[in-house]
């Protein structure tokens, strides 16, 4: 199998990756840009596929003009990186399967780039609550994806809940695809929101695009008379084969539900998001250092701790599309051996303030475990409950995440702990009085699910599913 050796390989064609590839190309580098999805745009600029052209695509998007300018680039789509093979003296070699998602006859490609830019984005963190595995309970991102790339409204009476500004564009997309939204619930109270959002007005000015974007979503809430309630959460979902109602409760500032505030609301869908987890499996495979939040550490040029490997966008800390674009430009230029201008660097650092404010105003608080019951599922794949985790920790007296995962099976299912990993770590950390190996959930030898049969013809011998 031939190995391609581009000057710059960019993984991920969302805002950061598109900007990085574009900047590197403008600096004269030969670039390959790839993405696992069938289209460029990432999660932010999700859109109807080419087979379903929509005249009014723009109304569902912010910065659509920017995307239109960036999307003309060559993008290798349906390209799933499954292994990063580390080297001591150069960026890793990436092994890629190209073809229909989870197919069996995909084309194998191998890239040994001179410089690698990782722009793999983030996925949502959704905290468990009783009934969260009922059909009709979605991540907020699922509702957004179904609205933007399928034009499917997930329900007629939809409740949007969780924490963070992302709840607003989700509510907005829902009403623009014809769903009825009965409310938006933010777990944090007004005092924390006010501190987080209005403390440093200069930063708001620097991120004025973001401010304008949020204002647009708020207008949609007002126009559709959708109530926005602070310090409130969905603490249970009810139904047999699908969600029919939810219990919501007021939260204290630590996110602990306040007794006596329960209220039942009829719904046919719930969309929940409590924040984002950087998608770092490739970065971890490549050996890149992570910070305390599990994001890839970078310097002012987007360099990671591994020579020749750069990172941009949400994997370096969640901060939204404007920051991702700015980081992409800087990292793309650096990967091409060129330097960013003072203005380009300023755009990057101005937007980084947004990430800190996001965490200050909306970060997860520890009291949320107050809405868990012993029989609440934590790991959806292996169907491990909160009680199983507590019992497992008590029975083994182990403080090792690895051994506790093996004894409880939590996080060992087909999603490889991507949905529950941080929650499992948080709960076990408390039950054990402190885990010895916290953070290792992010360590996955294979970056994606692959079939043994598909790899049979390659030289690599890999297990289909690594147990930890």
């Amino acid at each position: 199998m031939s190995v391609e050796t581009p000057e710059v390989l960019v993984v991920g064609a969302g805002p950061a990756g598109l900007a990085a590839a574009d900047a590197a190309r403008r600096a004269g580098a030969q670039v390959v840009l790839l993405d696992a999805a069938g289209d460029a745009g990432g999660q932010y600029w999700r859109h109807l596929p080419a087979e379903r052209p929509a005249a009014r695509e723009r109304i569902l998007h912010h910065g659509w003009g920017k995307f239109t300018a960036l999307r003309g680039q060559d993008v290798l789509t349906d390209a799933q990186v499954w292994l990063a093979e580390r080297h001591d003296d150069r960026p890793p070699t990436l092994h890629v399967l190209v073809g229909p998602a989870d197919g069996r006859d995909r084309v194998r490609k191998t890239f040994a780039p001179k410089a690698l830019v990782l722009a793999t984005g983030a996925y949502e963190r959704t905290l468990p609550f009783p009934g969260w595995d009922l059909p009709g309970v979605f991540t907020a991102g699922a509702a957004q994806a179904l609205a933007k790339s399928e034009r499917i409204a997930v329900g007629r009476r939809v409740l949007v809940a969780g924490a963070g500004p992302f709840l607003l564009p989700v509510a907005s997309s829902l009403v623009r695809t014809g769903a009825g939204v009965v409310g938006v619930l933010e777990a944090n109270g007004w005092p924390r929101l006010a501190r987080g959002w209005s403390r440093r007005p200069a930063e708001l000015l620097a991120t004025r695009h973001k401010g304008g974007e949020l204002a647009g979503y708020v207008r949609d809430l007002v126009r559709h008379r959708i109530p926005y309630r602070a310090a409130t959460a969905v603490v249970a979902a009810h139904g047999t084969d699908r969600v029919e109602a939810v219990t919501v409760a007021r939260l204290d500032p630590r996110w602990a539900p306040i007794a006596g505030t329960d209220e039942q609301i009829e719904v046919d869908a719930v969309c929940v998001s409590h924040g984002f987890v950087p998608r770092v499996e490739l970065a971890v495979s490549a050996g890149c250092g992570l910070d305390a939040y599990g994001a890839v550490v970078t310097d002012d040029d987007g360099r990671t701790t591994v020579a020749g490997v750069f990172a941009a966008g949400e994997i370096t800390g969640v901060g939204g599309a404007d920051l991702a674009l700015a980081e992409g430009v800087v990292a793309g230029l650096a990967a091409a051996g060129s330097a960013a201008s003072a203005a380009q660097r300023r755009a990057r650092s101005d937007n980084q303030a947004f990430a800190a404010r996001l965490e200050a105003a909306h970060g997860i608080r520890p009291g949320w475990t107050g809405w868990l019951g012993d029989d609440t599922l934590v790991c959806r794949c292996e169907e491990v409950t909160a009680g199983d985790l507590r019992a497992g920790a008590a029975a083994t007296e182990s403080r090792g995440l690895r051994s506790l995962k093996l004894s409880t099976r939590a996080g060992l299912g087909v999603c490889q702990g991507r949905v529950c990993g941080r929650t499992v770590e948080e709960l076990l950390h408390r039950h054990t009085g402190g885990l010895l190996d916290r953070g290792r959930t992010e360590s996955r030898p294979l970056a994606a699910f692959v079939r043994l049969g598909e790899l049979a013809a390659t030289e690599q011998v890999a297990e289909e599913k690594e147990p930890l």
Partner: protein, 84 residues
């Protein structure tokens, strides 16, 4: 212009349009869940972006395909339960 397609779900023809994912076709037809866990709990789309693997289906005899990621192709045979 959209191009109509037909996929076969558990032996029954189901209409869709080119470019939809398998999950899009199923949800467009009003299906909210199509898989059961080993404990008998129903599952459909949860994350919608290929992370959670809740929405797995069998496509043309191949198991463990994420319905939210796989584009539906005219004539695809979808099975919602794995053959023993």
């Amino acid at each position: 212009m959209t191009l109509p397609i037909t996929v076969v779900v558990d032996g029954v023809a189901m209409p869709g349009v080119a470019g939809q994912t398998v999950a899009g076709v199923l949800m467009g037809a009003g299906r909210l869940s199509w898989r059961t866990t080993r404990n008998g709990r129903p599952r459909g789309v949860f994350c919608g972006i290929g992370v959670c693997h809740d929405c797995l289906v069998v496509v043309n005899g191949l198991a463990d395909v994420r319905a939210c990621q796989r584009r539906a192709i005219d004539g695809d045979e979808i099975s919602t339960e794995e053959q023993a």
